[in-house]
Amino acid sequence: MAQSPSKSLVMSDAASLRLRLGGWLGQGLLFLVTSLSTFAVFFIFYFIFKDAVPFFKLEGTREFFTSTRWYPSGHPPEFGALPIMVGTGLVTLGAVVVAVPLGIAAAVCLSDLLPFRMRQVVKPVIEILAAIPSVAYGFFALVVFATVLQNHGGSVLSIGAWLVLGPVFFLLVMVAGDLLLDRLKHMLPKPRLAGAVIFPALGILAFLVLRQIAARLAGIEISSGTNALNVSIILGIMALPTVVSVSEDALQAAGRELREGSYALGATRAETLVKAVIPASISGILAAVILGVMRAIGETMVVWMASGNAARIPEPWYNVLQPVRTLTATIAGDMGEADHVTGSARFHVLFAMAACLLAFSFAMNLASELIVKRSRKKLGK
């Protein structure tokens, strides 16, 4: 088509306006879409706090935060949520103990030790863990794991102790032996011989201690398999893919230059990992841990099915072999009877619990932001 002579290179005012309007419209639309998710967050905050405030107006705050008696259906009702908060804390702590060391070790292994091809296979397999519906985990916890814990509780515990404490003790012996040798080097005439004596001696000592612990644990009888330990382990496994995936990404992001620089300075692979790679990616690893904590604290189905749901602070508080009740399970379990038609305290107390959960996750998020910022500053990024 021939260019018409009237068309100049300078845009007409109308065309320019059209273009600018189009630009604004596009930007506006995108802005709207983005702000939708932000608004969703505000709406959630608003609606939860709207229904939580009436509870504190009706019942006050003291009982909710300090009483240990949870009888929402009693006459008169009692709304002591302290044991439920402790229960949530306990299973979350348990899940962290399970998921964090395992997850970080797996991430390090994936990013720095396994050959690339293996990694391509193993990582997706770990991520499948995240795709299993939580009710399936709950069913397993209730039907299989709880029964095993009840029938073979002692042996499960002692095998667990060997598996977990074995490597820990091994590392301790190595480190302690090294330190001892360093101290004694100048006093002894034959340092080599000393090493040959110290390491086996420490090793045997550790073995005996471990065997003692395992024997103690083997004697324990678990009267009920639906307890904090059960759900802690299951929640830990559920949080694993998050921890592994995010911290592995962080380790990868540390970059090849860092590793090669470290090798060039003569560091071994272990030194490179511990002294260069992990410190460089610590903010990402912390983010992974926090995401894992959120996964564990917000999980409902598994805890509702397999934690026993007894609203009581275990005695002593760290006794994970007793049943506990969590905030999420209470909200899910008590929703049906809590009468929102009449707007009772029993209904609003659930929102008060939801508000606590929300406040906690908000605080966690804030903390993770701060940590990331601080570690960035330290690394001079």
Binding site: T68, R69, W70, Y71, P72, S73, G74, H75, P83, L142, V143, A146, T147, Q150, S223, S224, G225, T226, W304, M305, G308, N309, A310, A311, R312, Q322, P323, R325, G333, D334, M335, G336, E337, A338, D339, H340, V341, T342, S344
Partner: protein
Amino acid sequence: MNKISVYALAALMAAAATAQQKIVVDGSTTVGPIAKAFAEYFMAANPDVNITVSESGSGNGAKSLVNQTCDVADMSRPMKDSEFKAAADKGIQPVAHVVALDGLPILVHPSNPVQELTVEQVRKIYLGEITNWSEVGGPDQKIVAISRDTNSGTYETFEEKVMDKQKIREDCEYVGSNGAIRQRVQSTPAAIGYAGLGFVDKTVKALKINGIYPSAETVQTGEYPVARPLFMYTNGYPKLGSPLYRFVTIHLGADGQEMVEEIGFVPVTSY
């Protein structure tokens, strides 16, 4: 292409012409199996009626009826004053239909040598005053008390018939369904639990209470102490002859009573 769409349209119109009647049933997990059996039976005889049955607990059933999101509310306990009041405020008039009777057997593990308890003893176990099986003639084992969640009609019946409205001990475990109670009891040697009569099988042992074994007869005669009627609530009494009316009166017929018995409950009338 055109022809197909014409046929499709015709089929749609035909479907619309037969006017699918819908009955929505919601509520107790205990009454649910009865409602499901009734629904299957009713839909087989009346293909133009579509019945959906959900089980979300007695409290939720009442709520749904009040909010008019269901036509029939299954409930394993009578409606409470507060629920009646909420219904009245919304212009709903709940009418009860007792469709069956249910006993709450007290369940223990089959290996447990205890055969019999009194209501008093069961209450003391759940109050935490009796904590070891040896105190009631069993082995030296700590009792693991298991209860339905406070959200269930089963719990409320237990609270009323056994607990005398006293508060259950703090370390009692709570589970979300009758099936879960059976599961926990059959896998826990030291457990005690309670569930609907329909949930007793060989994997758990039902105890005699006050010397009476829970059975259809003892529930019907009122001898077994932990028993209750099961309800379906409708908004007003349904119009005579309407599908809803026929649905909530199935239990009065011989077929309905047989179904109730098959599921493990006790019919209201002996035929």
